[in-house]
Subunit: 89 residues, 2 copies
DNA sequence: TAAACACATGAACAATTATTCATATGAAAG
DNA sequence: CTTTCATATGAATAATTGTTCATGTGTTTA
């Protein structure tokens, strides 16, 4: 149980993944757009998206050739916001 | 900013530290008591407590020979609880 | 069907990090 | 003052993990 909790927080505990989640908190986005915004390779982003997908923190659906990613639910956004609150205190 | 956020979550993203924080959420505790509860060495616990202290997630004060640790503020407990809520859904 | 585009993924490397072992510090008891 | 108890810490090791490179899969367009 507490191990599962650690696994959850571990996903938020990487700056790349935090940035991805933040970008997605502003709306759906494709893989290459995320890569552009973060100035990182498509591969690096795709690898991280896979982890986020596997833990159901993001969901995705295909539109033609592109995949659109989004936050899985409100919970993820809440965790992000609450972390930010803690930072800026 | 998002990097600071990742650094914060990184601290929750380790099962040992999660367990330590959980134990402390039930009240003040000494280093050796934490080590006993988690069946880990005093040294391992002490190293982790140092990280938690440096990030002000826990505070401590000395009573004689023993050091009593506690959660730094309500915020830490809230983060823990919110993570748990997410797990059990 | 072949080429182009968007994304996924396996393997390898580099960097980070949790634990152990040995030892140091600091307080209390004798 | 010396010993003992509780904790802290430096160095080393082992394990985890993020990124890169090369390549594979799936979809559209010519």
């Amino acid at each position: 149980m507490l191990c599962d909790l650690a696994e959850l927080f571990k996903l938020f505990g990487d700056s790349t993944r935090c940035k991805i989640l933040y970008v997605l908190s502003e709306g759906e986005c494709s893989v290459s757009d995320i890569a552009d915004v973060l100035s990182m390779t498509q591969s690096a982003i795709s690898h991280q998206l896979r982890l986020l997908r596997q833990s159901r923190l993001v969901r995705c659906h295909r539109i033609g050739k592109t995949m659109l990613y989004a936050l899985a639910d409100e919970h993820v956004q809440t965790i992000l916001k609450m972390g930010m609150d803690h930072i800026s205190e």
